[in-house]
Symmetry: C2
Subunit: 254 residues, 2 copies
């Protein structure tokens, strides 16, 4: 909510992928409150200055626009500064699978490193601002600053671990467990960013939630209604309030 406000204040006229030297100052990791969630985590002051060199641009992506598309040449990772995005993959016959939702401090584009080409799409669900981190520079700096190297490896590895968690969710949980897990996960991540653990605004549609969870949108909607009548949550369209997080967690361990 605060994020959305900030986003709206800043100019809308900036073209896609602009490299504005004038904005260099705002770009500083040292003054970014996402520092410990992002790549520069646990980096000493002296090295931090060098990290800031790789954040040589920010880019705005308006709601509905793509940050990158499958097939685009890969040359940078993106760190979310504000806003909310989804990542998706498409298969041959056009079906879309949502592979993740990304909020501030999270890195996007990791699946493009290996092939030199983005394997998936990243679409803004909100007006977004991202830091552009050219991957060549990250690698270069990684060679010189072990802490950077470790952070990058940590980010990549944790993404793999997260994906394995999603496989568990998709492969062996029932619908209500999936949605409960999803809500608890969102809650945790909002909390880490200083927002309410129990009161938040979903930026994605029921269909996108369904895609992520391997369910149809109607099933997601029915589950929301059921959770509400079970007094686990309150839902009003995209606004969710968790009433009974113990009860939700209990759904998982059943």
């Amino acid at each position: 909510m605060q994020i959305a406000t900030i986003t709206q204040i800043t100019s809308r006229a900036a073209p896609k992928a602009t490299l504005s030297p004038a904005r260099k100052r705002e770009t500083a990791c040292s003054s970014c409150n996402l520092r410990e969630l992002c790549l520069p985590n646990r980096i000493g002051e002296e090295d931090l200055a060098r990290v800031e060199q790789i954040v040589f641009a920010r880019r705005r992506v308006r709601r509905g626009e793509s940050l990158f598309k499958a097939g685009d040449l890969f040359n940078a990772l993106y760190a979310v500064r504000s806003g909310f995005l989804k990542t998706t993959v498409l298969n041959d016959d056009g079906r879309e699978q949502v592979t993740g939702f990304n909020m501030s401090g999270e890195l996007l584009g990791l699946d493009g490193i290996g092939g030199g080409v983005h394997e998936g799409n990243a679409v803004a669900l909100d007006d977004c601002e991202v830091c552009v981190l050219p991957f060549g520079l990250i690698e270069e700096l990684g060679r010189e600053i072990p802490a950077i190297q470790r952070n990058l490896h940590g980010v990549l590895s944790r993404e793999i671990a997260r994906d394995h968690g999603v496989m568990m969710l998709l492969g062996s949980m029932r619908a209500e467990e999936r949605l409960a897990a999803f809500l608890m996960n969102l809650s945790k991540r909002f909390t880490a960013r200083g927002y309410s653990p129990s009161d938040f605004h979903l930026r994605m549609t029921r269909e996108e939630i369904g895609s992520y969870l391997g369910l149809k949108l109607e099933t997601v909607s029915r589950l929301f209604s059921r959770f509400q009548s079970d007094r686990l949550i309150e839902v009003q369209q995209k606004h969710v309030r968790i009433l009974d997080s113990i009860g939700l967690k209990a759904l998982l361990a059943s």
Copy 2:
């Protein structure tokens, strides 16, 4: 097949995780036929010698034994030299999800880098031999040899991309599509290793296939039978022969 033979020749008596200096010679990446599938891919001769320094041990894991378990301290990646493994994650209430099957040249343990602890389990489905690559040494060498760094990043990134493919499979494919995709994927990987694209031995049970594909073992069995009566494959227990790969691929794009 050649690989399996080598495995059988070498002593079986070696205790787990032994560091046998006498076996240093066999360990050489330069003479390993998995070189282009493994970490030393595209590395010049001069650097290769240095890579071999990090492969300071091999370890045998007998069928049914674990290479590592969730919660084990992470300190090395493992490259499969021979044999076949599965990786799994367990959730709180004890359900197991198979997250992957690994064959020669593939790296295991990637999900442990971030947290310093293995997040999942790796269990041998065959007698296996793996190279132990202490991660500290990999990082060190990565700092000095850009090609090593790039390969590591490539491996991590491709694992992420693979996982996204599995999410697509679990989240938006029907049972028969999942199995068809699974068979085509195995075929491709066996081919890359010089084996027959159409004739192979499954090392995992129906239950493990089912877990990986988000299906019950009975469903997997029924699908095998149906594919057989549709003349797409021939199955006899763990032996599979692909009769109509075009037909199988067609199942995917339906």
